[in-house]
Symmetry: C2
Subunit: 366 residues, 2 copies
């Protein structure tokens, strides 16, 4: 079923590299894995992500020539490994999967490597855990995978990269490297920075004050829990487009500070309203579920007690009413074992659902 042909050599057997190996092996594609850490490489082999290169050598065998080399190492060593792979495997297509693309492309070009066989890519898959033990072949299922060809990329290299992404269930988007980097600066790196700046203000807040926190604070700070080591590499590799966005944030922040320093001055309220409205219009542009146009779902809040199965029963009964759940969020409140399930549905079905739930004795609170 796979369009990819093997063998594939995966360099870097962390979460993403090992997940690529696993996914390909499930499809019957032969994979070798290599990692700077012998332990990581051995674990990757054990979980089925591919054959350890060290083990091949130790057995006195030689590596079959790879058709594709996937560099899945930490961002700060990717360029070097790509250049090396292009030289070591003169027939292979070489791709990397780092989350920043221009800097790597520049490095590879500056090294005089064969750019026709290289394609930068970026699978936008979760990273809450790390290491090969957390690897899953399905990690990329329905996630975007951005592919960044250049004018010198060969048709074979581009097709090989696309086949890999499609084989692993991802959705391919083609962008050039600069466009990719500007996009992720805005939709991924800037949110990370803003979340970290916000959360760092809570370092000295008394816990009994934080116990008043609502869902808004939790949502805005969730990604502030991300791994600093990874983000140092990402932020420094994509510094330029991030700084451009941060200049604009600083301009707005300065404007807001000036306004709030004198909140009764003429025009102050209009100025705040404008800033809020700009936030409204930016937020409204973010596409909804399944990449479709932004769509306002109707929400419905139901009080639920905190026992196993309550949420399941609620959702079973929503399903029985024939209404599709578009989204669900659980909200919990300090001090009480009662939660709120915020259910999103098609606005045209909301009233019907409220009636159905009321009939079944659910407490619809909003």
């Amino acid at each position: 079923m796979a369009s990819s042909s093997g063998p594939v050599l995966v360099i870097g057997a962390g979460l993403l590299g090992a997940s690529i190996g696993l996914g390909l092996q499930h499809l019957g594609v032969r994979v070798y894995v290599r990692d700077s850490s012998p332990t990581t490489e051995a674990v990757a082999q054990d979980i089925g992500a591919g054959q350890s290169v060290r083990a091949v050598h130790a057995a006195g065998q030689t590596l079959a020539d790879p058709a594709l080399v996937v560099v899945a190492a930490p961002p700060d060593v990717v360029s070097e490994l790509v250049v090396e792979a292009l030289s070591d495997f003169p027939n292979a297509v070489v791709i990397d999967i780092a989350s920043v693309k221009s800097a790597i492309l520049d490095d590879v070009a500056a090294a005089g490597a064969d750019l026709s066989r290289y394609v930068g890519t970026h699978p936008m898959a979760g990273r809450e855990k790390s290491g090969p033990v957390a690897a899953r072949g399905e990690l990329f299922t329905s996630m975007p995978w951005v592919i960044c060809p250049t004018e010198t990329t060969s048709a074979r290299a581009l097709t090989t990269a696309k086949n890999l992404a499609v084989d692993l269930g991802a959705t391919v988007t083609v962008l050039d490297a600069a466009e990719h980097d500007e996009t992720v600066a805005l939709i991924s790196h800037l949110p990370q920075v803003m979340s970290s700046l916000l959360a760092s203000r809570l370092q000295d807040t008394p816990l009994h004050h934080l116990s008043l926190s609502g869902q808004g604070l939790r949502d805005t700070t969730r990604i502030a829990g991300s791994d600093p080591a990874l983000w140092v590499q990402i932020l420094s590799a994509n510094a330029r487009p991030i700084v451009e966005s941060l200049y604009e944030v600083r301009t707005d922040l300065d404007r807001l500070i000036a306004t709030l320093e004198n909140p009764t001055a003429g025009g102050a309220r209009l100025d705040i309203a404008q800033l809020m409205a700009e936030g409204n219009s930016g937020q409204a542009r973010i596409p909804g579920k399944h990449g479709g146009a932004p769509k306002a779902f109707a929400t419905l809040t139901v009080a639920v007690d905190d026992t196993p199965g309550t949420i399941a029963r609620l959702l079973t009964e929503i399903g029985e009413a024939g209404i599709n759940l578009e989204d669900m969020r659980l909200e919990h409140s300090p001090g009480q074992p009662v939660g709120l399930a915020v259910v999103s549905v098609d606005p045209n079905r909301r009233d019907e659902l409220v009636d159905a739930l009321n009939e079944r004795n659910w407490k619809v609170v909003q």
Copy 2:
């Protein structure tokens, strides 16, 4: 069952005022509602939030003396209405429910009103919708309700305010007005500002770039969709503590900009790592579910197709395994009708749940 005694006069029959009226009437407490808009007042009466003051007068009757007046009007008219109520009803306790407290207290004191009968309060309940039609008596169930007495507040006034909150199912927290305002500046107003500043950067981003957005961007910008009219009043009424936090944000932002302008300089990486780590430690302080100490739940990601009942079936089977669902989030990806359910459970039960779900043919992807 109610500890509150009537009649209660609710001034301002929007979502919160009408919800208070509804909740009290359900408990058998007599409520009058008054609103500057005759239509809003009539709707509030129609939904059962209390008797319209205009209707009482039109019927040639007189208002019974209220034991409690709840000022639930927009923040910018609250002080005036509190002062007026203290004077019009010399035996009543008067409370307000605005989300900023010091400015109102100062105004009421400056007007020479009887502070012994006044208590500022702040029920921290949702505001995604507005108007009396959206009112629900259960709106305050298990939400925090902050009560801000002063040294001159009488015991009767304080008890009356507490009884109201408890009757409506809320969890009472006592703070002084300045402490309340500093707390909400940090846990509610600053997240709002940061989310709006971030979202406003998306105003001109091409939609095909925004289609790559992940859950991080959605979470950090959700509250940027809030009502500008309300937030203008909140931000200007609490300008001082918000500005103090914004100065600190600006200091960190300037530091980060300087670092990213020269990301290869000595110490640059350490500086970024430190900023990220500060975000980590702030985020880790936010209490988890039920106001308990922050606790790391184990998460588990399951691929789910987009048909009615799938999520319900998943949660039913989690319940059948005897494992309590601590939280759930649905993630959807561009271009494909497959979603991911991210389920949070007790870390000690995670492996058991993975086994149970695998046995039942669920695709556990992470």
